[in-house]
């Protein structure tokens, strides 16, 4: 590793640390869900590396545990995860200058936090972007495996009143604010949030997809009007 890389890794760790806060309670909640689902504990935890997507894992395990048919539970989890297609599209232009091995490996760790933080580095030099992305991805991968394993044992005893899960929306607000450098991006963010709100009643939070697409369209239109 070159000295410059070490600096990038250090920056990635610094950026990742606060984003870690919501992972811990989420991991505990997930661990609790596994213990209550009746599914073999090791198998339930293994979804952390077989799936590596907290919201989808929680959806799948709780639905299976409640006796939902496997097909319906799988569908619900896949809908919860559909936003990743948009992350993938958002990063695609940056991967033009990346080697094949990285194009195949990177998607495995493309969780919300990695996308959010990487989206602030899309114009970095290709090698810098790769080092940064891999450092972020490793941190969140290791953190999630550990948090969900711990959750199996301590999930049932953490006080729910702390509402630590609220740290997640707070940090995403911060990242949205940092990423808004033009008025059309502001339009995209506001419309994305507003339409998601209006469609909140749709099953499995799929209003998220409607809101996101509306936001992307609104931003594109605003950009065109500006020119």
């Amino acid at each position: 590793m070159m000295p410059a890389d070490r600096e990038i890794v250090r920056r990635a760790l610094r950026d990742a640390l606060p984003l870690f806060a919501p992972i811990i309670p989420f991991g505990l909640v997930f661990g609790l869900a596994v213990t209550e689902s009746g599914i073999n504990h090791f198998l339930g935890w293994s979804s952390s590396w077989l799936i590596f997507a907290g919201a989808a894992q929680l959806t799948l395990i709780s639905l299976l545990g409640s006796g939902t048919a496997a097909g319906a539970a799988i569908m619900a989890a896949v809908v919860v995860n559909a936003r990743h297609v948009m992350y993938s599209a958002g990063l695609a232009p940056t991967f033009k200058n990346q080697p094949t091995w990285f194009r195949w490996l990177a998607p495995y760790v493309l969780v919300d936090q990695v996308f959010a933080q990487a989206s602030l580095h899309l114009d970095d030099a290709p090698r810098d972007f790769r080092v940064y992305y891999l450092a972020l991805g490793s941190v969140f991968w290791i953190g999630w495996q550990t948090a969900t394993a711990a959750g199996l044992f301590i999930g049932p005893i953490v006080p729910a009143e702390l509402n630590l899960g609220f740290a997640a929306p707070i940090l995403f607000i911060g990242i949205v604010v940092l990423g808004i450098d033009t008025r059309p991006k502001l339009v995209a963010a506001v419309v994305g949030a507003a339409v998601t709100w209006l469609t909140a009643g749709l099953p499995n939070r799929s209003g998220l997809l409607v809101g996101a697409i509306a936001g992307i369209l609104a931003g594109t239109i605003a950009e065109r009007v500006r020119r």
Binding site: L17, H84, V85, S88, G90, G165, G174, V176, G215, E223
Partner: protein
């Protein structure tokens, strides 16, 4: 067995959803219109995600004074300091205080 197969299916679906655009679009010359639209993926999806995280089991957005005041102040701190730690500390503190005394 059902649980294992379900987990494998969702794992495969998750990987594909994350990989499909990177693998299929990275080598293509995208139309300018698409490149412009992709710039809005991050702000649109992440702000939609913030709202989606607040949706409760009844399909209502659970947002009140504690959430709103925490978002406003955390957003302001993020803008001013560009520092996630300060953003998190201020946001959670406001949220807890407003929830307790608000």
């Amino acid at each position: 067995m059902t649980a294992l197969l379900s987990i494998l299916a969702v794992g495969l679906g998750t990987y594909l959803s994350r990989a499909i655009m990177i693998l299929s679009l990275a080598d293509r010359k995208l139309p300018d219109g698409v490149v412009v639209a992709l710039r809005f993926v991050a702000p649109a999806v992440l702000s939609a995600l913030v709202v989606a995280l607040l949706i409760d089991a009844e399909g209502q957005v659970a947002i009140g004074v504690p959430e709103l005041s925490a978002f406003l102040l955390a957003g302001g701190v993020a803008y001013k300091t560009k520092n996630h730690v300060y953003t998190l500390i201020v946001g959670m503190t406001v949220y807890w205080l407003a929830g307790r005394f608000g």
